[in-house]
Symmetry: C2
Subunit: 153 residues, 2 copies
């Protein structure tokens, strides 16, 4: 496998509305998507765009955008994020997501290495297949693997 693009950093938050205000008013973000629910994953999410290497950030899905911040709020107390927030009430960094060209090949790669995969391959927040790997097998990092969207992000 070849290391893919760092698509996003997942950041858990007790309030996506507060986080959006923080990213706008404190950090100066200008491109933030509308939050939407992913009920099968028990979370509400939105994405904060950061500029790419050239500093250009003209449009959300331009060719030069950088890694996004995915804000994640639990939909209910059974949400997988609820436990994280119980330990980290202010929120914080939750996972790293790397792109791959072929999700099935990536899954076979990690399985071949004996890495624990958390559940089945499913459709993620960007509309492409994703899976998660156990942080204990990934140097402490909860790692999401995501198939690169075919036309932009």
């Amino acid at each position: 496998m070849k290391l893919g693009r760092l698509n996003h950093i997942g950041v858990a938050t007790p309030s996506i509305a507060d986080s959006i205000r923080y990213y706008r008013e404190v950090m100066g973000a200008t491109e933030i998507t509308e939050p939407f629910d992913l009920p099968e994953q028990g979370v509400k999410v939105c994405f904060v765009s950061t500029p790419g290497e050239t500093g250009v950030n003209e449009a959300l899905h331009s060719a030069l955008n950088g890694t996004q911040i995915e804000l994640i709020e639990p939909l209910n107390s059974e949400s997988p994020i609820a436990g994280f927030l119980a330990k980290n009430p202010a929120g914080g960094q939750h996972h790293l997501c790397y792109e791959v060209p072929d999700i099935a090949a990536a899954r076979a790669w990690f399985e071949g290495l004996g890495k624990r995969i958390l559940g089945s391959t499913r459709i993620g927040a960007h509309g492409t297949p994703i899976f998660f790997l156990h942080p204990k097998d990934m140097m402490g990092q909860l790692t999401e693997i995501m198939e690169t969207p075919k036309a932009g992000h």
Copy 2:
């Protein structure tokens, strides 16, 4: 202030050698800098490059590289990373680093917002001035602000 490029994600590790092997052999990284000591910060660090939006990763400091992973190992038990590893023995995500064009203006911005800055502005791993902000004032994220290097990274 305008949100700057996400320069790197800081990842703490009990062993930079093990982390380098992991990024090469499991994640398929090809561009990893030689580790070096930052004794005044009590850490040894190196950087793993990830490809930018186009998937191009021709050289470490090309114009199209993505966000880097900074691997951080404590130099001794007094290291600021030692406490993090005591709580997270396998390592894990430690901080987020955003670029700004002017470190003094950024410091004044955050001070004006009443955000707690951790220590003085100092020279960071990329050779430009940096400072850290308290995670409790930053939605749970230990945040590094770094002046963009004048010619590439």
